[in-house]
């Protein structure tokens, strides 16, 4: 196998907050192979966006601080070398964000923004003189060429009437059209690696469907690699080759979409997959408790206070490494320590969960016991009687 196009090793990111130092990313390893689409899935606050920001070189510092870790793009380390990161960012990376309304400027037309992207692409440290020259219209790239390129890209993203769209302001476009424009702009720089942070979350399902089609079409056509951040497991399945399940700043499980979604191994992935309402069934169990406080993260496995299968004396002590199973599948859970088969591990997990439930240990449960079961009717009735 060739070297991966992007590799993140042992990333640790801390944030300085009023409550203290928050250990938001705690040792994340991640690889994206050439031509591969990798999805990071997780719930809000799991650190998936912070991971993406770090890769994009857009982590706000302060309050953020990269404490540890290396980021290799085509074997070049970027976290220690800002100039290199900046260069790779402008030359090779393309980014698509969740809310096109905030990433598009409301005071420029689509055409003006696209022309600016082309004028400054592959350039770092643009001087004031050059910006001035460009404003007065003496650009290095010819207007006609730029125009043709814009039209070509808008066309490729199936935007009706591309000529007309160039003169429109973002606010005049529908949500789906704005997202298409954003993708077109990301494609302008001819990137080889796309980073997409929840690009379809704000869209309706039918429009999301169109955008996902278009995006995978571009990826295939240009042979791009992509890192796709989402909370929607179904979207991840549609777009990605492999999935990283993230919980509380750590990677819980890695594997192909089919592996992870059809047969999740990590107790967290299992809870997550089960919680999604599906056309077949819907497990209303959910996951007990809340995402932990990052300033005082749980010891051992960060999921153990919420885990139905947690083993006292082990899970709260040892931080599980990522155990490698067959076919590139990795699980960060002590259940798989001895190379157990998924079936055997599942069985152990089920027994653990039963004993935990039986002994009344409610892990991280925020609710109190429900003692009184007096019906609401009777109480209200009593209150009304008292009122009269």
């Amino acid at each position: 196998m060739t070297d991966p196009i992007l590799e993140l090793r042992d990333l640790e990111v801390h944030f300085n907050t009023f409550d203290g130092r928050a250990e938001v990313i705690n040792g994340v390893d991640l690889t994206v192979e050439e031509g591969e689409t990798v999805a990071i899935v997780g719930e809000s606050g799991c650190g998936k966006s912070v991971t993406a920001e770090t890769v994009m070189g857009m982590l706000p510092q302060p309050p953020g601080e990269i404490v540890n870790g290396e980021l290799y793009y085509r074997d070049e380390e970027l976290l220690g070398d800002e100039t290199a990161h900046e260069r790779v960012k402008t030359e090779s990376l393309g980014m698509i964000f969740q809310d096109p309304m905030t990433s598009l400027s409301p005071v420029f037309t689509v055409g003006e923004m696209m022309r600016d992207v082309m004028t400054y692409q592959n350039k770092t440290n643009v001087g004031w003189l050059e910006i001035f020259r460009n404003i007065v219209g003496r650009r290095d790239v010819s207007e006609a060429d730029m125009h043709d390129r814009c039209i070509e890209l808008l066309d490729r993203l199936q935007i009706p009437d591309p000529e007309g769209i160039l003169d429109r302001y973002p606010i005049e476009l529908s949500g789906g059209m704005r997202q298409r424009v954003l993708i077109a702009m990301a494609m302008l720089g001819e990137p080889e690696f796309l980073i997409a942070d929840e690009p379809t979350t704000a869209l309706d399902v039918t429009v999301q469907d169109q955008i996902l089609d278009l995006l995978s079409e571009q990826v295939k056509r240009e042979d791009l690699s992509m890192l796709y951040i989402t909370h929607n497991l179904g979207v991840a399945r549609r777009i990605a080759d492999r999935i990283y399940v993230m919980y509380a700043g750590e990677i819980a499980e890695v594997g192909s979409c089919e592996d992870i979604l059809d047969e999740p191994l990590h107790p967290y992935s299992r809870g997550l997959v089960d919680s999604v309402p599906k056309l077949t069934e819907f497990d209303r169990e959910g996951i007990e408790g809340l995402i932990p406080n990052y300033t005082e993260p749980p010891s051992g496995c960060r999921f153990h206070p919420r885990c139905p299968a947690a083993v006292a004396g082990e899970c709260d002590v040892t931080r599980p490494p990522r155990f490698e199973l067959a076919d590139g599948r990795e699980v960060a859970c002590l259940l798989y320590e001895d190379g157990l088969s998924p079936a055997a591990a599942n069985e152990i997990a089920a027994t653990e969960a039963d004993t935990n439930r039986g002994s009344g240990t409610t892990h991280g449960r925020s609710s109190g016991p429900r003692e009184s079961d007096e019906s609401i009717e009777s109480l209200t009735q009593r209150m009304e009687d008292a009122n009269e």
Partner: protein, 336 residues
């Protein structure tokens, strides 16, 4: 009115007939009416006691307006809302006050629906304060009981909403809705601001409450997969109109309307096994048009994969296509 009162128990709790909510579009110096947005355009449905009816649709289809009009947060511009046999569509704010005890709304975003400057105990007790029910001690007792009912620790009473997580806030909102023992809850996307693991627990709480208290739910949502699991009947809405209305099982097993098919086709499935419920992949065109200038004929025809010439000319009516199953499409007339 008189013939509706003879046998109350067989009546549905809620019967909405030809409900309309039009918003005028004004223009010019004199604010003259230049057009209107038909946010809800002739919607009819019934909701039985203890039943859940889900209204599904994409943004801008009018589903939220429908829910809020039924809860009389908006005044309908036409049609009737028979609640427990009484038309509440035309009542004044004063006449509505007793009705408000019976119909409560749970909103999508709990951060916005709970007053950030009030403690949980005051938020949950507010309905009793407004309707002047109970003594101070009784109200306190009721708040504790309600918090317990929604699985929150009772000491949360003293907290402010910002000190709670999203799921906990939504439980508070549910507790507030239950304070006066309503019979109908309008649930406006009650879980779409929450993570799935939290959503699952809130949904199971809602179902448990429905079983225990015999509540009826009018659930507004964009999540088709969710409705499959929790609704008894489902209405699919597009540009202010119901396109298809059916019991949950028949809607998913045998969708009749092309729009429903497209929605189903667009759901990104999570598990392999779900594929069985999905129609063959349909390529979907365009986005919801501007509701102030809807297409002629069938409002869905510009995006429809089964559109024919007739679609732009005739507006199809809702017709019966199965038991308790109606749909709106010109193709239904061919087969009849």
């Amino acid at each position: 009115m008189s013939d509706a009162t003879d046998d109350r128990t067989d009546d549905p709790l809620l019967r909405v007939q030809n409900l309309e909510k039009y918003y005028p579009i004004t223009g010019g110096l004199l604010k003259k009416k230049v057009g209107e947005v038909k946010a809800v355009d002739g919607v009819s449905f019934e909701l039985g006691r203890g039943e859940t009816l889900a209204i599904v649709g994409e943004s801008g289809c009018g589903k939220t307006t429908l829910g809020k009009t039924v809860a009389r947060l908006h005044e309908p511009t036409g049609g009737s809302i028979l609640f427990d046999g009484q038309d509440i569509g035309t009542l004044s704010e004063r006449e509505l006050k007793p009705v408000r005890r019976e119909i409560q709304v749970v909103y999508q975003d709990p951060t916005s629906s709970l007053n950030p400057r009030k403690r949980i105990k005051d938020i949950v007790a507010e309905p009793m304060t407004v309707h002047d029910i109970g003594t101070k001690a009784q109200r306190r007792e009721r708040v504790v009981e309600l918090l317990r009912r929604v699985d929150l620790p009772e000491d949360f009473r003293y907290r402010y909403p910002s000190e709670l997580s999203g799921g906990q806030q939504q439980r508070v909102a549910i507790a507030r809705a239950l304070t006066l023992n309503p019979s109908l809850l309008v649930l406006d996307e009650p879980t779409s601001a929450l993570d799935v693991s939290v959503q699952a627990k809130v949904i199971s709480l809602l179902e448990e409450l429905q079983d225990d208290l015999g509540l009826s739910y009018l659930m507004i949502t964009h999540d088709l997969s969710l409705t499959k699991n929790i609704a008894d009947r489902i209405g699919v809405m597009y540009l202010g109109k119901l396109m298809e209305k059916a019991p949950a099982a028949s809607l998913f097993d045998d969708p009749q309307n092309p729009y429903t098919e497209q929605l189903l086709s667009a759901i990104p499935i999570v598990e392999e096994s779900e594929a069985a419920y999905k129609p063959d992949r349909i390529s979907i065109q365009g986005e919801t048009p501007d509701p102030s200038d809807p297409p002629s004929g069938c409002s869905f025809h510009p995006r429809c994969h089964r559109t024919v010439d007739e679609c732009s000319r005739t507006e199809p009516e809702l017709v019966d296509v199965g038991p308790d199953h109606t749909s709106r499409c010109v193709h239904h007339d061919d087969t009849d």
